[in-house]
Amino acid sequence: TSSVLSTENDKSTSSKDSTTDVASKSQEGTAETPKQKLLDIIGNMTVEVSYRKKLKQLKTREITNTLEGPDSEHTVLQRTTEDVRGGKPLNPELVQAVSAVASSLPLNKKQTESELLAQLRRHEETTDKQKKGGLTNIRNVISEMAVKRQSPAQRGVKISSRISLRVDEDDQRIKPERLSPQSFDYRSLKVGKRLNIFTKASKETENALKTVSSPTIWDLEFAKEIAAVTAQPPRNGFEEMIQWTKEGILWEFPIDNEAGMEDDAEFHEHIFLEKHLKDFPKQGPIRHFMELVICGLSKNPYLSVKQKIEHIEWFQNYFEEKKELLQEI
């Protein structure tokens, strides 16, 4: 979630800066045609415009005028942007408390503030959705719109990177869901807005996600199912032979003589076994005997190198013991 919030934060900082101008301008000048000014300025911003937002900004400007103090502008800006992102105007005391908390914490003040405010906003949204009646007209309209419409409720969660000054579309959306065919004559895969729920994972998170434990039974069975989707019976003899080769029923061509044999040693280790006779005496019947043994072993294709060395070592041990006997004699 942190990446999501940080990107939100970055965008919100940029919009914060621009809304500073908005707030200040409107505070200085009169409130005449704030909608027009808003449209101009926000059009330059990379923020989506919605009817609700305009309402809220008008409303927040009212609340702004009641607040005083050095924190007020900052909190107003924050609140404006949070409202821009589509919540309801929060209790100003809450907001002030949040900023106080944030300033007390050693972390990035703006980030913690925005996180806390986002959390508060979520609470507000859920309580308001369940609240019935007793709200102001604007709130009624907003909450109604949140229930009826599908995407604008969520659109405010994340500021998209695309400029879309579709003011009229919002008004249109207040119509019932069952849209008449005429209004959607042409629909295309290329045109349209996205859900804006997910963000693309950065490279680090992707790599972090790659470390998975061993595949569970779910994964194995799913893999089998997927493979079975395109597993068709062979259409001709060649495909059948390919399948058999994959299963191991048919040999692989060109023929590999050593297929299926696991022999780690090279041929010279099998044949040239003289180096294992280092510990034996250089002359005498024992040497002669051992050379015959080696000759026999080198011609033996059935034993592995290890086994051959073991043979030689056995002889070595044997003759060691017998040497003592022989010496005695």
Partner: protein
């Protein structure tokens, strides 16, 4: 593509080639079941198959060791039994371990839960495992043959989640649980139809402050239509899950979006407006859509019969034409059939040709198994009959019939209508030959259509003769009472048409037989029939027959009898007796 050959898997002998879709299915099933039988023998009697002659050894033909090796009560033994997928043994061993007081590690318990949730607490039998090893083109074992629903046995929803089954019980007695435990329980519940429980389990997971993984979310999204009834509520719930995913930092994958689109299929009008946003979201996240995505999309946009033209299908085809797809979702297999259905509904033959080309590109043909391929080509042929010139239709028919697909009765009807529209009725006798081959020679709907087309108008003489021969053939086929075939009831239309056909060809006796038959089934010959017969009698100069007809008409007290009588008197030279 050899037009006279059947699929490679069948014996290449004209007598042994399947004639129609049903027998093709039967033959391929029998082939698979033979393989299954062999595997079963090897598994049951491994002691007879222990000599390995082959060098190098061929492991897939050797019997597998499926009995647990580790005896005794230990976690290792439990792990082995889980690995061998012996559900009952694992549960028993687990219970014994718990009673003996030995703690079982969380990981092992989780893998036991995986096993139980996957199999839904039913016993895993070796026969079941065989099914998913076979190609999906055929349902492997014979006992599954009649069931079309549970095609991939393990993915079927036949097994239901029983109340307080082993999985739940073990879950409850676990001393500690991690996210994986919850996730696997949720997935199991969704798979076996206990969606409400899955949702509750998900709430528990959230309360324990765990994070679910992407597969669990995918399962939850697929369960949404079972949790809510109204369309808007379904969409809202799906969005709730998506938002939770975003909050918990779980990245969606292709299957997430496919599950979402599948849910949108059941969301009515909302599906249409929202599915495009879903596609855009996929694009933004750089997830390539699979065939299942496009399939769901087409279904959403074109399921209403009165679909106004929209460019969605051409755009989808644009994307599909360019790529050769690899399977990523089990629903990929339905794309081509859905798309062809859309082309038929839109009556657009050009789109169908494009779709064909896309199917032939790369590996895309593999997505059509035998049944789906038959359905696909059958729809394509219907569209051809509707929209294309008759010679193109006949060309396709000759090439594809019984090699690429087996025409359905509807296809034959469409073909007959196309011939009628193009005034090519002389081809009908060869269509009858095709029908005989396909085994449709006793279907009344086809026969009636065939005969009525033939008998509707007068035709030049040779054609009439050919028709009469065909009619005789039909009569013979219907009269035949083979070992399995019951005596077929004739309909009056058939008999009437046959009579007409015989009459026109001058075969008076045959025609009279038909009329008699009509009497036998207590039906009255139509005026048309009687007039034709009369003309025939006149032509062949058989006054007796004409009198017989008049007598018949009189006995049935038909309005035509008077006319016939006068005609007989006028046109024939009758002896006194006959008068």
């Amino acid at each position: 593509q050899d037009p006279t050959a059947a699929h490679y898997m069948f014996q290449d002998d004209p007598f042994l080639m399947p004639r129609n879709a049903a027998s093709a299915r039967l033959y391929s099933l029998s082939k698979e079941s033979g393989k299954n039988a062999a595997k079963y023998i090897i598994k049951q009697f491994p002691q007879y198959f222990d000599k390995t002659f082959a060098e190098p050894n061929v492991p897939c033909l050797m019997p597998e060791i499926l009995t647990p090796q580790i005896e005794g009560l230990s976690e290792e033994a439990l792990k082995e039994r889980i690995h061998l997928r012996r559900v009952k043994d694992s549960v028993d061993m687990f219970d014994q371990l718990i009673q003996a007081g030995t703690p079982v590690s969380l990981e092992t318990t989780n893998s036991l839960l995986d096993l139980l949730c996957f199999y839904g607490d039913g016993e895993f039998t070796p026969e079941k495992e065989e099914e998913d090893l076979e190609e999906p083109g055929v349902n492997a074992s014979e006992q599954k043959a009649p069931k079309k629903q549970s095609r991939r046995g393990l993915q079927s929803f036949d097994s239901r989640w029983r109340e307080n089954n082993n999985a739940e019980r073990i879950f409850k007695i676990m001393p500690e649980r991690n996210a994986h435990s919850y996730c696997t329980m949720i997935r199991g519940m969704v798979k076996h139809g206990a969606s409400a429980k899955a949702y509750d389990m998900y709430i528990d997971l959230l309360n324990e402050r765990h994070k679910a993984d992407v597969h669990t979310f995918n399962a939850l999204i697929t369960a949404v239509p079972y949790l809510k009834e109204r369309f808007l509520e379904r969409w809202e719930l799906a969005k709730v899950f998506l938002n939770h995913m975003a909050q918990q930092g779980v990245q969606p994958n292709l299957l997430t979006f496919n599950a979402l689109l599948k849910t949108l299929r059941r969301c009515g009008g909302i599906g249409k407006s929202m599915s495009l946003s879903v596609i855009k979201e996929m694009e933004a996240l750089d997830i390539e859509p699979s065939l299942a995505t496009y399939g769901h999309l087409l279904f959403i946009f074109y399921k209403d019969v009165d679909c106004y033209p929209s460019g969605i299908i051409s755009e989808v085809l644009d994307d599909v034409e360019k790529r050769s797809f690899a399977p990523q979702d089990p629903d990929d297999a339905n794309f081509f059939a859905t798309a062809m259905q859309v082309c038929c509904d839109l009556k657009d033959i050009k789109l169908a040709y494009r779709l064909n080309k896309a199917m032939e590109k790369g590996d895309n043909w593999k997505f059509l198994d035998m049944d789906r391929s038959n359905a696909y080509w059958s729809k394509f042929f219907s569209l051809l009959c509707m929209m294309e010139q008759i010679d193109v239709v006949l060309k396709w028919y000759k090439e594809m019939s019984t090699s690429a697909f087996y025409p359905t009765p509807k296809n034959i009807l469409d073909l007959l209508q196309a011939l009628d529209a193009a005034n090519h009725l002389e081809v009908i006798p060869s269509v009858w030959e095709g029908m005989k081959q396909l085994g449709y020679n006793r279907r009344h709907d086809l026969l009636e259509e065939l005969l009525s087309l033939m008998s509707r108008e007068q035709h030049p003489h040779e054609i009439q003769l050919a028709f009469a021969k065909c009619a005789e053939d039909i009569k013979a086929a219907l009269d035949q009472t083979g070992r399995e075939q019951a005596l077929l009831e004739w309909t009056s239309l058939e008999l009437g048409s046959l009579a007409v056909l015989f009459s026109r060809a001058g075969r008076t006796q045959d025609a009279w037989n038909m009329i008699e038959r009509l009497q036998q089934i207590s039906r009255i010959p139509t005026d048309h029939v009687m007039n034709e017969f009369f003309n025939c009698a006149k032509q062949t100069n058989c006054p007796d027959e004409a009198i017989k007809l008049v007598k018949l008409a009189a006995s049935l007290d038909l309005p035509l009898s008077q006319k016939l009588k006068s005609r007989t008197e006028k046109e024939f030279e009758l002896s006194e007796k006959q008068k």
